[in-house]
């Protein structure tokens, strides 16, 4: 053979596929529409959830403004009910979940040494479905019949009495479910197939572990929710009677099916937060995470138990004594692996060389206040007590302590922790600390009094209340506005950091460990295009 001979068997070139942008971001706005880069998509998710945080927060302020004093003050009761319903849907599906998916997009490939997510185009779709779905969902507020007002739990028969917006809401929920499933499958495929050589399962950072387990929860529960809302739809429009007693159906059955999805959903909202806190505390305590293995098993145990506790949300609907006992004890059992986690975080800090930068402050705030929410959850697990607390503000206080100083604080901690890696600039530490302390004061002013009015019997989802609850409600409303407006500081700090600031090093934090800290700050558009090799001594968690 005397010359080079090239044969093209198919319309493809040498060994490269073009599923991700080859040379860097495309110019202009279309970059964000067409991108398949995991960092771009992570950024989109995070900005989207921040915008939704303010939309959902504005709804919360409407609720609190109405509750500032007893009597109907500002909005009519129907709109108030729409606000409570939409506030929950926006905060759960539009803020906390997308923010965690955004963090997963940004961080998981870098943490496991993968060049991108396993299915980059699917990743783009999973994001862009969400603004579409939320546009439909929020637009129902402007319909003649108003938005959904039966609570985010969509219980029949009340929800079947909704106006024209019902079908739109179900449609939007389906799309949000599709987005979640696509994101989860992508995460599972990425973690299983694209780990760098040497990155064994027990070397994966806790954030990756918690997300893997969360993805399993989503995959297992989303079809149940999709089926449930579709049955509501057919009950309303196609004459079926799944949940209609008049036709031989059972409305309580919907509560079972909803909470079979809904309770794991609660853990979907908190497990990634555990992963974030498990990354941050070792960094600022300058010690490895205490009891890594037990953390992994505790996370898996919590996920398993989350499937067998659902009926603790519905003790008052009536169930056999054996059922009440089973769900009470299984719920209490969750406190064991959760306690393991709290113990391990505290043990990690014990005698550590601690410093208190903003991410650490938010992480410690998370540990303390999430535990407050966990303890009130234990109270609610006790069946006879729950029958008294059910549908009171005590429940509102409980889940807000878990979700705001719990999940939302973990998101803020994560943002401060990884922001220098994303932008290449350090954020303003002084402002960050102010943000933490102002938020922490107001979040407790907002939610702690709810325990008192709840124990005194104030019902939730009611725009009016008895005079004896007036003082604590006034205080809670002051806390709400204080907390809400203090979040403008958060936006300011982020924007200031994106625009410039002291340059961050690759490692950023002295005690940081893991592959994401080995790449430059800001992280290059493409990282780990060829897999790094980890030997036995490489610290990845």
């Amino acid at each position: 053979m005397s010359s080079t001979d090239v044969t093209h068997h198919a319309a493809d070139d040498q060994g490269h596929d073009h599923d991700h942008d080859e040379h860097g971001p495309a110019p202009g706005l279309m970059r964000w529409v067409t991108t398949t880069n995991h960092k771009d998509i992570g950024t989109l998710y995070l900005w989207f959830s921040l915008v939704m945080f303010f939309i959902g927060g504005a709804m919360a302020l409407v609720i609190r403004a109405e509750l500032f004093q007893p009597g109907i003050q500002i909005v009519d009761p129907m709109f108030f009910n729409s606000m409570t319903t939409m506030h929950a849907i926006v905060m759960i599906f539009g803020v906390v979940m997308p923010a965690f998916v955004g963090l997963a997009n940004w961080m998981i490939p870098m943490m496991i040494g993968a060049p991108d997510m396993a299915l980059p185009r699917l990743n783009n779709w999973s994001f862009w479905i969400m603004p579409f779905a939320f546009t439909i969902m929020l637009s129902t507020l402007f319909m003649d019949s108003g938005g959904p007002a039966g609570g985010w739990t969509l219980y029949p028969p009340l929800v079947l009495q909704m106006g024209d917006s019902f079908a739109y809401v179900i449609f939007a929920i389906h799309f949000l479910g599709i987005s979640s499933v696509m994101g989860s499958i992508n995460i599972v495929a990425t973690i299983f197939n694209m780990r760098a050589p040497g990155m064994t399962f027990m070397k994966m950072p806790m954030f990756v572990w918690t997300w893997l387990i969360t993805a399993y929860l989503l995959i297992a529960t989303i079809p149940v929710f999709a089926g449930a809302v579709t049955m509501l739809l057919t009950d309303r429009f196609f004459g079926t009677s799944f949940f209609s007693a008049a036709g031989g159906g059972d409305p309580v059955m919907f509560q079972h099916i909803f909470w079979f999805f809904g309770h794991p959903e609660v853990y979907i909202l908190i497990l990634p937060a555990f992963g974030i806190v498990s990354s941050i505390i070792p960094t600022f305590a300058r010690k490895p995470l205490f009891g890594y293995d037990s953390m992994v098993y505790a996370t898996a145990s919590i996920a398993f138990l989350s499937f067998i506790v659902w009926a603790h949300h519905m003790f008052t609907t009536g169930m056999p004594l054996a059922g009440e006992l089973f769900f009470m004890f299984s719920t209490m059992m969750i406190s064991v692996p959760t306690g393991v986690k709290v113990f391990n975080w505290v043990a990690t800090m014990w005698r550590g060389s601690m410093t208190f930068e903003t991410p650490m402050l938010f992480a410690i705030g998370f540990v303390i206040m999430f535990t407050v929410g966990g303890l009130s959850g234990l109270m609610l697990a006790i069946t006879p007590a729950d029958i008294q607390y059910h549908d009171t503000y005590f429940v509102v206080a409980h889940f807000h302590y878990v979700l705001v100083p719990g999940a939302v604080y973990s998101l803020m901690a994560a943002t401060y922790y990884w922001l220098p890696k994303w932008t290449g600039n350090m954020y303003d530490e002084t402002l960050g600390k102010w943000h933490f302390w102002i938020s922490t004061v107001f979040v407790n002013v907002l939610f702690f009094p709810m325990h008192f009015v709840g124990l005194a019997g104030m019902p939730r989802r009611i725009p009016d209340y008895s005079l004896q609850f007036a003082d604590w409600n006034m205080i809670a409303t002051i806390g709400a506005f204080g907390f809400g407006f203090s979040q403008l500081m958060f936006v300011y700090i982020i924007v200031k950091c994106v625009r410039g600031g002291e340059k961050a090093t690759s490692e950023v934090w002295e005690g940081a460990r893991g592959l994401e800290w080995t790449v430059a700050s800001p992280a290059p558009y493409h990282t780990f295009e060829t897999a790094p090799v980890l030997d036995a001594g490489t610290v990845t968690r």
């Binding site: 090239v6 493809d12 596929d17 149940v224 799944f242 060829t530």
Partner: protein, 157 residues
Amino acid sequence: MIEVQDETGTTTRLIVTANRSMSWKANMYLAASLGIICMGVAIAMATYGLWMVIPFAGLEIVFIVGCLYCTLKRLSRQEVITVNNEAITVEWGYNTPDVTVNLPRRWSRLSYRCKDSVFEVGELSVSAHGKSYCLGGCLNRQEKKALYGELQTALGK
């Protein structure tokens, strides 16, 4: 990953694949485990009359299998380099080659260049008659060096 097959003593075959942390078989078990969880839940629901969960669970399982298949297929792309007395043959493809390049062995030149930076993986190429082809595009720095060594050994025979 590099797999070396010394076939006859005069012919060496090197199979280069991208990093893949789980095998096809293990992925099948993964899909099966997810399928059992989803369908188990759906069937349990159906026994209480809530059969409408089944189609959604079924669709999800199909989607999971499809996604895992696409992921594995993308990660299964191979570069097969065959060195014999006459030629160096490089093939790129999945199960069958998409592109094949034949270079005369005696006119071919192997080169490896790498900047002194931890972020550089280096460039390994083979060239002949003014045309150059990159090899081991999916490999990291250590693996590329190893491939360079293997090719030098094969060409030295």
